[in-house]
Amino acid sequence: MDSGVTAWLLTSAALVFLMIPGLAFFYGGMNRSKSVLNMLMMVVGALFIVGILWAIYGYSMAYGSTAGYFVGSFTDYFGLEAALAPPAEGDAFPVMVDVVFQAMFACLTVGLIAGALADRMKFGAWIIFAAVWASLVYFPVAHWVWGGGWIGQLNIGGAEVIDFAGGTAVHINAGAAALAVCIILGKRLGWPKTPMRPHNLTMVMLGAGLLWFGWFGFNAGSAYAADNTAAIAATNTLLATCAAGLAWLIVEKIRDGKATSLGAASGIVAGLVAITPACANVTPLGAILLGLIAGAICAWAVTLKYKLGFDDSFDVVGIHMVGGLVGTLALGFLASDLAAEGGQNGLLYGGSFNLFLVQLIAAVGVMIYSFILAGIIALVLKATTGIRMDEFDEVNGIVLAEHAETAYELGDSGSGGAFAGVGHSARAKEVE
């Protein structure tokens, strides 16, 4: 066992974990104040349920021995008992390190979807959706890409798919699911006519900062080593993100007249998403170019929902799906063996068109699968438990209706009331 590698991967797991509260705050700041707690709860709720499923059968489905091309063995690591043994001779790190590192990816990916569903989805239906989508979509797709499934095995004329840290499995996957569910769920009441301004942009920037920090573990940890590749991934994670933030601000300055803090935070996330699949396979200059492209394209893509009429509340599609596509497809041009020794080259570095082709097949395959499955799950929930809040509860505030809380107690007036006892719902009944 290599204690240096083990230490770095355990650290990376904690870094990726921090992205989950970071994501919650990034989204939560964009909510109106009456629904911010619901968004935090959606992200945290997904973490709870997916974390447990990951231990029971998720890791096994993603990383168990492959049964054909689609999904790993359900039983190899069922309940993680097989992962308890110390590492075999020659293994750099224990299996359990991989379990906990990849658990964070699963929890984060499901949480990403919540950003499209602000203010209006029944909390119980969301938790069920999170559990079923993780089981039917994320675990198999992680197997496709990293566990030995069809994307990992895809080979056209020697070209193989590059997805270093999750452009397809994480971002395109979550973005396509978000698109399907937000269409089925429907628009927020009043959208887009009613102003729904972000209630706390400092919270958005704080969340983006936490995401960026954690992303160094997400990308550089995906090297599964504390080596040159990890350092290249970390450097590119800085550079592409700077470039994307800058590009987003330039688009805003030209299009809207002002560079905004929400634009900066959005550009940060767009850059992080785009560099995710590419972080170990592009040069630093390639990362900057990729970031510029991703920032500009995503800044344009977030306006599409107004033209097409779907309420992707906080732009999971415009940033994660589109950013994931940009990063995944750009590898067909920007991949360079200068960064990854013995790696593949994109068209700009004298590689063949086949690399672009396999990237496209992987991206489209994940996108279609996730979109269709997420849509079916949402439709079934809509027909059974229901997925949409009552009109009154949505307008009055989902936090009060679903969680019986208030996010902010500001000032003295209106804070009065009476203590109604502990351990029963007397107070809630009285209010009804």
Partner: protein, 112 residues
């Protein structure tokens, strides 16, 4: 007695307070307010989506004062709050029937 109410630009509060204190006025009530007059708000842009914010943040000042000094107080507020730009606000006065100081029970001018 008169109740003088002023709606002014928030950043002018300190200037107005200083000007009114110079007249030996013993107290005022300040609250945050929002509304519109001729100014009609401003535009904000979030991820390319433009919103018109029609209610503009203002500060409301309330001062209860003897009838014969109300004119001076109003002049002081107007003088200090004026920028000459749209949205400077309004000042008005209305008659007050009675005033009681809660601590002592004094009434009328004694309570000010």
């Amino acid at each position: 007695m008169k109740l003088v109410t002023a709606i002014i630009k928030p950043f002018k509060l300190d200037d107005v307070k200083t000007a009114v204190e110079a007249l030996d006025v013993h107290g005022m009530t300040v609250s945050e307010a929002s509304g519109f007059g001729r100014q009609r708000g401003h535009t904000e842009v979030y991820r390319g989506a433009e919103y018109t914010v029609e209610l503009v943040p203002k500060v409301r000042i309330e001062i209860v004062i003897d009838d014969d000094r109300a004119g001076d107080v109003i002049d002081a507020i107007v003088g200090a709050a004026q920028t000459g730009k749209i949205g400077d606000g309004k000042v008005w006065a209305v008659p007050v029937d009675s005033v009681v100081r809660v601590r002592t029970g004094e009434t009328g001018a004694e309570a000010l």
